[in-house]
Symmetry: C2
Subunit: 196 residues, 2 copies
């Protein structure tokens, strides 16, 4: 493998191991093994486990941004319908692994925010990026009259993201998508109706 491809393989393997075991519980050896990369080459690519963890996180956030954009940028449907389709798609993806993995950003927030200031700041930045993107879509929903002009779309987007993260967390203990479906039902069936 070339340098970039080895690095990329390591980052992908790291994501998967972090999703399954968490950051602290994940050994570098297990990541190298999962990536099929010889021992000893880790520190050629990364300064430390934390440097590696932060790069895994960045890569995850980049992929996620593309995925969000695919749905929220789809102007062939109304803004609220874009949001609905996006969250339905996340829900379906969660179903394929019985909601075991959760969300890497949520997981690492739980595990690392109090232990590493570098992690905390990066995680908060990613969350804020998501909130800003949801808020932009909610603003468009406001402009086309899907929700009331009096709504603070940023506050609603914050609440939305946080509640969704809670639903993803709970789905780890129920081991099914019921908490995610309930969230969608409450947000689209009750809250947005009330705010229409």
């Amino acid at each position: 493998m070339g340098k970039e491809s080895t690095k990329s393989t390591l980052l992908d393997a790291g994501k998967q191991v972090f999703l399954e075991k968490g950051y602290n519980h994940a050994g570098i050896e297990a990541i190298l093994h999962a990536a099929g990369v010889p021992k000893g080459s880790f520190y050629y690519y990364f300064e430390s486990k934390e440097d590696f963890g932060l790069q895994v996180l960045d890569r995850f956030a980049d992929c996620y941004r593309v995925d969000i954009e695919r749905f929220l940028g789809d102007t062939s449907v109304t803004p609220l319908e874009r949001l609905r389709r996006y969250f339905e798609s996340v829900c379906e993806r969660a179903e394929t692994q019985q909601c075991r993995n959760g969300c890497l950003v949520g997981n690492l927030s739980q595990e690392m925010a109090a232990l590493s200031e570098d992690f905390r700041l990066r995680l908060e930045e990613i969350f804020e990026g998501w909130v800003a993107r949801y808020a932009e879509c909610l603003k468009e929903a406001q402009e086309v009259g899907e929700i009331s002009p009096s709504i603070d779309v940023h506050a609603l987007a914050e609440f939305w993201l946080n509640s969704w993260q809670g639903a993803v967390l709970r789905a780890k203990t129920t081991r099914n998508t019921q908490p995610l479906r309930l969230f969608l039902q409450m947000i689209f069936g009750t809250i947005l109706q009330a705010l229409a």
Copy 2:
């Protein structure tokens, strides 16, 4: 220290170390040190780290139940006011440690639900107990006319708990109670108004 008191000291120390570092990252030596208990006595009281972890969790849930009851059992105020006061109190407590610790049940769900079936089942049982208690209070709110009789109080209680857990998680990265306050504002100011 007597046997029960040593065990109790270890469980308290475990709770604190788990809240600060997570379960997997917490060493038994650090817990013994924090408890001021000599090395070697751990396995006299506990079969394994997992047995210890589950007992820490049980103890936390027992304390929490008493705390919830103190608020939700206070019939001198209306059912919704009981819920409001309870969540305000949790919010104030979170403020004292700058929202670093999160909720032990939420934290362990994130970290352990996919790794240990014993943890997952116990965590889900605790969550279900909380949901049932919130639902009971919401049912009372229905009986006194604070919310509409058509509401599914159990579904609302599930959504409430999950969203709150998400707010607690997010507060770990914002390092302030803003997500908790936003939750309270949305649930009491918007959602319950819409469901009145």
